[in-house]
Amino acid sequence: MPTAEYFAPTELRDALRLLAERGNQITILAGGTDLVPQFNCRELRPHALLYIGKLGLNYIIAKNGGLAVGSATSLEEIATNRLVFERAPVLAQAAAEMGNPTIRNVATIGGNLATASRAADMPPPLLALDAELSLVSERGERVIPIGEFFKRAHKTVRLADELLTEIRIPSVKGQTAFVRHGRRKVFSCCVASVAVRVVMDGGKCADARIVAGSMASTPVRCLGAEGILQGKHLTSELAVEAAAQAVGECKPIDDDRATAWYRRRVIKVLIERAINRASDL
């Protein structure tokens, strides 16, 4: 009967030590909503578990006009926190629409990113907000833009001895929107999702972020579509044009939840709607 060792350190340095010594054999456990179902059906058979819920990584604080969010913060906390509401409403909205109440109570933002699932709800808004991630190990800290974090589905640039400790959201301008399409109102994984941020200056779009989720193996920033908005008055016709451009950039996949054909159609609609919503059209 194989059993797993279980560690639940209360000091970050103890956690980092374990990761440094046995990183490849250790499974980091946060809320467990991705991991535990895999343990139960024996898809994953961990040698050792490192529970990070006691490391004090559950916090949301104001920082440099933006936010610093501890990686073990629950999505329910993010969905209901006043600071997030004021400084990153698009993140609060995405957290509030994710999963269901029981899942949100335990699922963490760090777990949502580290899982690197295609259908994850946190990456698109965080990309739209230019968030950065702090990866810490005994060797020190490295801070990377979230856009560089995901390599492919279920694969990130995190090294075996690193712990994702904090998500940093800079003070960014602009209006945002998040639109997701699932097959049910709640408790359904995304077929497609979009986060948009537009910065308006003198009636024109000074800067834009358009990020599509659940399309390809990683979230996709649609740079071409962003370029179409740049420097223009935002109209619904322009939104249509940008959306059409974005579809070409997304390269959607076929899976059990939807075909690429359907994803292409839906992402176009979602992008239009998100641009319109962000710019109050």
Partner: protein, 780 residues
């Protein structure tokens, strides 16, 4: 919220009120014991090894390594099961072949679907049992899977069960049907209903519509997975605790499959977390008994959700070709249905009830219905709420909607015009007794919902009707009078839909006491007479009738006791409102409470009993429902929003109206899930892809509006209280109602279930031209 059309003026004291259910507090406080809550000293945990192939020959099974794992106490495979000859038994609504039932609970020779059981282990912990499963080696020779009825009926299709020969069904069918000469086939059975002159009927029609329909395999989705705890005593007696809809079925099936005597098995009903027909058969029970016998220790087995979806019984996917004609005035002149029901890996789909219900609500002079039972490499189907009827109704009600549009007639008017009533022959032939279909349509037509106006683009309103014949069958009941004047009602009917409250209310009505003074008990198989399944919407009807008669038996005995006390004849005693009095007066009346204290002196305790057979399935209590639904379609994503939904149903008599409404709403909610999102998704190898509720998408409460109910009461003349069954018929009509609403919203006729956003969007983009003017469904 609930309108009521009361068909009778009979007055009741208890019936029609809404007392708190007797089992409510236990359930909401978590004290109620479900199957998985039972535990016994020394108990082992059993787990099942399941096939990873949809279709394969088992060449060898090696269990030595697993047996050597510390903690493993017993292992069983197909070799541990006796050979059971093929006998068929009518079990509630469906026919069961015990030979195939045995092969379904444990594969022998071949595995026939992804998830088919091949071995089971009992160990001292569930984890050890799971580890042991990994150590069992099975050599498979994969065979090509056959996943749909269409594929299975092709002449060169791989054969699932070589012993099924076309000659078994030849002679019962018309020439040119796919059976042909005697050869192996995947078509296990065929049924045909015929009346009138079909060709002449179609010649008379001004409009004829013809379409092909498909419906996906769907699961009942009960919250509680299957479970069983078995004890095997050294004297050869076994006791099974489990969540089942039919304790007596479990006893019979387990005894048959293990070649035990029925009297050697006692089945104790646990509380049950839903079943909807899916818990009328056995999966784990025989395995648990065998493991308990082999290990000499109690064994508990529970399925997880993936096992439930892969290896319990969903309902059939279907393939239906249908044609219907109507004269300009809206009269249906002819209809023809050709239907194939996927049975899963063994014979026994609801192909016959599907045919019996298909055009059930209508009087169609020229009719031909053919229905086939087709084997595919999917789990053997089980009953699901009105089994068979929803699929055939989807076809029938869709065509009817098209004809109503062609004729320019209001769709409810069209249904009333052709509606069945007392004396109309059913599709299977026998005429209906008093039924309330026309009243149900009329109630919907007069409803606030149907009379309201639906405005806005991409919105539409659809209606559809449904029929389910309901069951009678056997029930037993005992009513015991306690010394304090309260009573207990003992039945063998597992309470799956609030029937404890209904049983107590029926006894309370007869005995003139409050519902709270009657404690309803669901007894085990040794403590009450035989009782058929909780299924076929039969409990309040048939078990309720037994309770009614048992309570009357108590009244009869009470009169004898009072006669003794008062030195009169029993005929001179009257009983009403819970009081005994003498006809010629002169004595002080006695209440039930007062006489209850004097039983010892008048001859001992009073216990009333009754056993009965309330009639064959379909002979009593036929029920009809009509659904009206408003939808809005997102033209860009194909997503359907249910704006408003109302169901009207003839319930005969609503004993406890809140539970009647709950049944109507529950069936409707399941029907909407079936319509929009639910389906089994298999890959090209026949492996089920969506084995959890995240991707087997039943609607949540946020996806549905509050479902409005219209309780129609046309009393069933065959029942002392007028009861018809209420549990099933509401699931029959929602699929067509939603499809008809979608058509009226966006002009697309959906002929395949489910109708999820991608499929609907694709159909909308194909830009089907409308063939007729849409005629607004709102009457003012």
């Amino acid at each position: 919220m609930a309108d009521s059309t009361n068909g009778s003026s009979r007055s009741f004291r208890v019936i029609g009120t809404r007392p708190i259910r007797h089992d409510g507090i236990e359930k909401v406080t978590g004290q109620a014991k479900y199957g998985a809550d039972y535990a016994f000293p020394g108990m082992l945990y059993g787990k099942v090894l399941r096939s990873p192939h949809a279709h394969a020959r088992i060449k060898a099974i090696r269990t030595e390594q697993a047996a050597a794992l510390p903690g493993v106490q017993a292992i069983i495979t197909g070799a541990d099961f006796p050979d059971i000859p093929g006998t068929t038994a009518m079990m509630g609504e469906l026919i069961v072949n015990t030979h195939y039932l045995s092969l379904n609970v444990m594969a022998r020779g071949k595995v026939l679907y992804d998830g088919h059981a091949v071995a089971a282990v009992a160990a001292t912990s569930p984890h050890i049992a799971e580890e042991a499963l990994r150590l069992i080696e099975v050599d498979y020779e994969p065979l090509p899977p056959v996943m749909t009825a269409a594929a299975a009926m092709k002449p060169d299709a791989p054969i699932l069960l070589p012993e099924i020969r076309s000659k078994f069904i030849a002679g019962r069918t018309d020439p040119g049907s796919p059976e042909g000469p005697d050869q192996p086939t995947n078509v296990a059975a065929h049924i045909q209903f015929q009346r009138g002159d079909l060709a002449a009927g179609f010649r008379e029609a001004d409009y004829v519509v013809e379409r092909e329909f498909r419906t996906a395999t769907v699961h009942q989705g009960y919250i509680e997975p299957h479970n069983a705890v078995a004890l095997y005593n050294s004297d050869g007696h076994a006791t099974i605790y489990c969540s089942t809809q039919g304790t007596f079925n479990v006893r019979t099936f387990t005894a048959t499959l293990l070649k035990m005597a029925e009297g050697d098995i006692r089945v104790v009903p646990a509380e049950i977390g839903g079943g909807f027909g899916g818990k009328t058969t056995v999966y784990l029970e025989p395995l648990a008994v065998l493991l308990a016998r082999k290990s000499g220790r109690p064994v508990k087995m529970t399925m997880n959700r993936a096992e439930v979806l892969r290896a319990s019984g969903p309902t059939s996917g279907t393939w239906i070709k249908a044609k219907m004609g109507a004269a300009r005035d809206g009269k249906i002149t002819a209809a023809q249905f050709w239907m194939a029901y996927e049975a899963g890996a063994f014979p026994g789909s609801p192909f016959a009830p599907g045919a019996m219900c298909c055009t059930g609500p209508y009087n169609i002079p020229n009719l031909l219905i053919d229905s086939y039972d087709v084997l595919v490499n999917r789990p053997k189907v089980a009953a699901y709420r009105a089994p068979g009827s929803p699929s055939s109704a989807f076809a029938c009600e869709s065509l009817l909607d098209e004809l109503a549009l062609r004729c320019g007639i209001d769709p409810l008017e069209m249904r009333i015009l052709n509606g069945a009533h007392e004396g109309t022959p059913q599709p299977a032939g026998p005429p209906y007794k008093r039924i309330g279909f026309i009243e149900t349509c009329a109630a919907m037509k007069n409803s606030a919902h149907y009379r309201s106006r639906l405005e806005g683009s991409n919105r539409g309103r659809g209606v559809a009707a449904g029929f389910w014949f309901n069951g009678g069958l056997q029930s037993s009941a005992a009513v015991n009078l306690h010394p304090d004047g309260t009573l207990s009602v003992v039945t063998g009917s597992v309470d799956i839909g609030g029937s404890r409250a209904a049983m107590a209310m029926v006894a309370a009505e007869v005995l003139g006491v409050a519902a709270e003074d009657v404690r309803p008990i669901v007894a085990d198989t040794d403590s009450i007479g035989h009782t058929d399944v909780t299924g076929g919407s039969r409990i309040t009807l048939a078990t309720g009738m037994a309770v009614y008669e048992a309570a009357e038996d108590v009244v009869r005995q009470l009169k004898q006791r009072a006669a003794k006390l008062w030195e009169k004849k029993p005929e001179e005693i009257e009983f009403s409102n819970g009081r005994l009095s003498a006809i010629d007066n002169g004595v002080k009346p006695l209440t039930l409470k007062e006489i209850a204290t004097r039983l010892a002196r008048t001859g001992g305790p009073i216990s009333g009993r009754a056993t009965l057979n309330a009639g064959a399935v379909g002979a009593v209590g036929n029920a009809f429902a009509v659904t009206c639904v408003d939808v809005e379609v997102d033209p860009d994503t194909g997503k359907v929003k249910i704006l408003r939904c109302t169901v009207a149903q003839d319930v005969g008599r609503a004993i406890h109206p809140a539970y009647v409404e709950g049944q109507m709403q529950g069936g409707t909610a399941q029907g909407i899930g079936w319509a929009l999102n639910e389906e089994y998704v298999y890959d090209e190898h026949g492996i089920l892809r969506n084995t959890g509720f995240l991707d087997y998408r039943m609607p949540t409460c946020l996806d549905l509006p509050m479902i409005e109910t219209i309780v129609v009461e046309v009393p069933n003349p065959g029942h002392p209280l007028g009861v018809r069954g209420v549990g099933e018929v509401s699931i029959v009509s929602p699929m067509a109602a939603v499809a008809n609403a979608i058509y009226r919203a966006v002009g697309v006729r959906m002929t395949e279930l489910p109708m999820p956003p991608p499929r609907l969007l694709k159909a909308m983009l194909q830009d089907q031209p409308r063939t007729e003017e849409l005629h607004p469904v709102a009457a003012d």
